[in-house]
Every structure is written in structure tokens, then in C-alpha cells.
Point group: C2
Chain length 306, copies 2
């Protein structure tokens, strides 16, 4: 649920909105009564994966992992998942995909409690996941405030580097290939961010700029990213601002850097990188090493500001 | 979730099973902690629908309705749903499908709280639904006992007749076409059955014999259907035992016929037809008008018994 369901958003505007305390369309997961979280994400062959570059168990793993990443982005904990699997007839792919689903279910402590399987023209898997919010409440996209620091867990670029290697016929580094095909949702990190009173959070599935923009749009704020502060494998962020799709790291905002440090330390986690600041001006900029600011867009940075 | 997810069932047998009070794979919906219900069902073009015979809004409606039917079959009430929609690129189908989804969400009081949309080689829609159990607990497939009566809501055959007409180039009756393309999940009926202490329940999505067999298998019992007692549009059950797929009526078992009558009457519903009896012998038979018993299989009845 990366914000691309705008047509449903248009339609639901015609219907009654959610009751107080609930959030429906527009965040990583919907927030229901009592803070329950519900999300869905589908993977389609040829769109989200290429069977030349992964095995079928990877597809099953990733289908559950990307859904759990939506729960992580709320600071939540997965409870259970269901899967709908569409496979081309007669190919016997279902068992292999289900094997990866079951591995992920065990690794993420998120039981696969039901499903549906059917024939179809291409391999597609859709997972829906139910989760619980942290006791402090779910971390939405809409709470970022000017002056908040922006944080990023882990590093960006490994999944993209692995895909580039595969497409070029090179062998990717084993760690990078795992990042691409067996992503680990940052569930512990998401809970640590929530415990540090994170004001907004999203998982980086489309790329850092695109995903941070969702936070800014939902919060009515802007952001400045400090180029040298973004951990990017094999380069700088300014050289490749579209980096980070498929990495499934978390980007969050928080007002108190000390609380973030303490919370991650208490959880036995590496401190997240502090990569920038939320601003009042509603645009996204990149501060280069020379101190100049550039306006960021999803595919690069556009032109000098000021 | 019509029991076709056997490969997941095989895999989950290798993993830890559900804690007491929960039911995972193998019923219409999974039963989670506190009686919450979770289910998923997908519709694929060319498998579950033919765009020559329905409009795109019908596809959206049906995707939510068949999921709500799984909640109905537990005696439950839908809480919320999410949808993953795959559409061929550049065709702009998504809005039309979403329109039908939104109509069903309003009609069934089941808000669509989130979703995912992506391109793909064919039109596919997968819905997952969350629901609550009745206060008496969910009605599983596994509770039928010898001597219980078997009940069926509504009549069978209309959806199938409409599809046959469409395939033959005839205009179906408007009511039959609605049954095929805009099925109504029997939510009120499901709750009435639960209130009458139904011992087992399933929705008739594959056909009465196939679905009643799921109850028998899960309960370790058999069943005898009384031919003349099954309401079938334009024929008798014995003439077409595969009837009932896509009708989304409910088949349930209960020990006390008076409780069933009272419960449906209290809910302002037509009494369900009492179509047979659960037996101790683990097979399905059909009692014909002449008193002879025939063994039933999904495609017909096989041979004379006794």
C-alpha cells in the first residue's frame, strides 16, 4: 500500500469516512478499531519479480515480507496473514511459492492462516496481513512537524545493485541478492521508532524521495536531506536519488534525537542514520557537501534553490 | 477459501499448529484470537468471470461479496476489507472495478480500508476480509453430528442458469443475471443459523455436493440429501447434482429444527429448506422419490446402494 490506490481514495471520498481513531486508505496499513492494522500487497510476475533472477520460494518469502514491512512502518507487530496465489495451469508452481511463504511466516512469527489458490495466465501472489499497533498507538505518515529529524534504518541501494548486476549478467554479492529476493521487514526497528515517539514513518519501497514525499504530503511539511548523511551502498545519495526501492528500510521522523538513540540501543539495534530535517516549506531539498540546496524529485534533483 | 489450499495445508502441518480456540487453514475463514475471522478469495479473468458476460463494476462487487460470503458461512459479520487489483496496463479498468467494490462495501457495511493496484497481464482482483464471530462463537465445518438436519438457504441453480444462457447467446432472466454477477452474501441468514446453534456451515460456492462434502469430511460424518427437498430453479436436484456453484447460498446443519425455524422467523427471514440428514456412515447419498438411495459424487450420482 504505497499510496498508489488513488482511485479508491477518490471513491471512498464519496462514502462515509472512517470513525475517529481509524485511518483507512492512504497509510502503509489501515488502522481499525482498537488499533488493529490491515494491509495488502500483491506481487506480479514481470512487474515485481523476474523468475530468471529469483526462485519461487523467494517470491513467496517476499510476498509476506513486503506486507510485514507495511506493519513495521506503523510500528506494529504482525498477527496473521492470508495469501491468494494465482499460478499458470499445470505448472505445479504453487508448492514452491508456498514453501517460501511458510518460511517467512515462521521467520516473522506471522502465521499463514488461510488462502486461496487458482489458475490464471501469470504467477501472482497477493497477501493480506493483520497486525497490532504499538501501545503508544500506530505511527502514521501524517505526524511529521517542522524541526523533526529524519531517520533511516540500514543502508539503501543493495537491492537495486543486485538487480542491476543480474540484468547485466553479473553475479551480485550474496548479501545484496538476499536483500533483493529475501528482504527483512524492519519490525524491531519500527517498534523502536514508535517507542521513541516517532512522529511519522513509512517503509522505503519506492525509493527514498518518493516515500519521504508521502510523509511530507500527509503531514503538510517539507524536508531537507543532508547528502552525506544518507547511507548508500557504493555511492552517495546525491548521485542516485531514486535509490532505495525494494530495500524495505524504514524512514521516520522524530523530535527527540536522544530518545531515538536510547530506544534503538535498548532494543540492541544499530542507531538509525539521521539524514535530514523536516521543514515548514512544502518541498524536498537536498543539501550538498558544499552547502548548496537542490530541489529533489523522484528521478534526481532539479535545479539550484536560492 | 473453499478448501483448495491443500498445499498450504501440507506445509502448515510441518509448522506449529494454531493455539487452542483458533482455526487456521481449512474453514471458510480462519478464526483468530478473540474469534476474529480472516479470509481471502481472488477472482481471475477467464477463470472466474468473462468480461463478455459482466461489466467491470460487477467484478468489483463480486470480489467483495464472495469474501463476505466466507464470513457469512461462519455466522459472522464483516468488519473491513482490503483489495489488491491487477489490471492490464493502459486500459483504465481500475476505476470501474473499484466502483463496484465501493458499491458492495456500502451495501454490505464492510468498508474498503486499503488496497494495492498494479499492472499485470490480466485482470485479477484479490480481496481479504476481516470479520467478527457471533457471540455464540464461529460456526465451523467440523461440528456436524449424526442426526442433525441439513438446511439450505434460498434456491440453487439461478447463477448457473444465467451463465448457461449467456454462453448459448440467450438473454438470462434479470434476477438470474443478478445472482451470477451481483451475488448477495447471506450474512443475516448466517447469523440466524448461528443463533439457532448450527453445528456446521459452509457457503455453496462450488456446488452443493462438493461443499456438503467439506462439512462431512471435516466432521467425520456422512449425509443423505432428500431429492425433492432441495429447492432448485427449473428442475430437481437429482437431475443436476452439480448445481449450486456461484449461488452463494448457505448450507448448514443443526440439531433442533424448531430453533432454526424460530431464529429465521425472528430475523424476518424465509425459513431455510430442510434438505436432508447427517448420517454416521461417511458417504453422501441422495434419496430419490421412490425411496431408493444413490451415492452422490460431484458430477452426479454413481450407483444404487443397498
Amino acid at each position: 500500500m504505497s499510496g498508489e490506490f488513488e482511485f479508491i481514495e477518490r471513491l471512498t471520498k464519496l462514502l462515509a469516512g472512517p470513525p475517529a481513531g481509524q485511518v483507512w486508505i492512504g497509510d502503509d496499513a489501515a488502522v481499525l478499531d482498537g488499533g488493529q492494522l490491515l494491509a495488502t500487497d500483491a506481487l506480479v510476475e514481470g512487474v515485481h519479480f523476474d523468475r530468471a533472477f529469483c526462485d519461487l520460494a523467494d517470491v513467496g518469502w517476499k510476498a509476506l515480507a513486503v506486507n510485514a514491512s507495511d506493519i513495521a512502518a506503523m510500528g506494529g507487530t504482525p498477527l496473521a496473514a492470508v495469501a491468494a496465489l494465482v499460478t499458470p495451469p499445470g505448472t505445479g508452481l504453487a508448492d514452491a511459492v508456498a514453501g517460501g511463504l511458510a518460511q517467512a511466516a515462521e521467520a516473522l512469527s506471522c502465521p499463514l492462516v488461510g488462502g486461496d489458490t487458482t489458475g490464471g495466465p501469470a504467477l501472482m501472489i497477493s497477501v493480506a496481513i493483520l497486525g497490532t499497533s504499538p501501545t503508544s498507538g500506530p505511527v502514521l505518515r501524517s505526524g511529521a512537524r517542522p524541526g523533526d529529524s529524519i531517520y533511516l534504518t540500514g543502508t539503501l541501494g543493495m537491492a537495486g545493485a543486485a538487480l542491476a548486476d543480474l540484468r547485466a549478467g553479473r553475479d551480485p554479492a550474496p548479501e545484496a541478492l538476499l536483500r533483493l529476493n529475501r528482504p527483512t521487514p524492519r519490525l524491531t526497528e519500527g517498534r523502536a521508532a514508535a517507542a521513541a515517539a516517532a512522529t511519522a514513518m513509512i517503509d522505503v519501497s519506492d525509493g527514498l524521495v518518493a516515500d519521504l514525499r508521502h510523509i511530507c504530503d500527509a503531514s503538510g511539511v517539507g524536508a531537507t536531506i543532508i547528502d552525506g548523511a544518507v547511507p548508500v551502498t557504493g555511492g552517495t545519495f546525491g548521485e542516485s536519488p531514486s535509490v532505495g526501492g525494494d530495500d524495505y528500510e524504514l524512514c521516520f521522523t522524530a523530535a527527540d534525537p536522544r530518545a531515538v538513540e536510547t530506544s534503538f540501543d535498548d532494543a540492541g539495534l544499530t542507531a538509525p542514520a539521521r539524514i535530514g530535517l523536516i521543514t515548514a516549506r512544502a518541498d524536498l531539498t537536498l543539501r550538498l557537501a558544499d552547502g548548496r540546496d537542490r530541489r529533489l524529485c523522484e528521478t534526481g534533483w532539479e535545479h539550484q534553490i536560492g
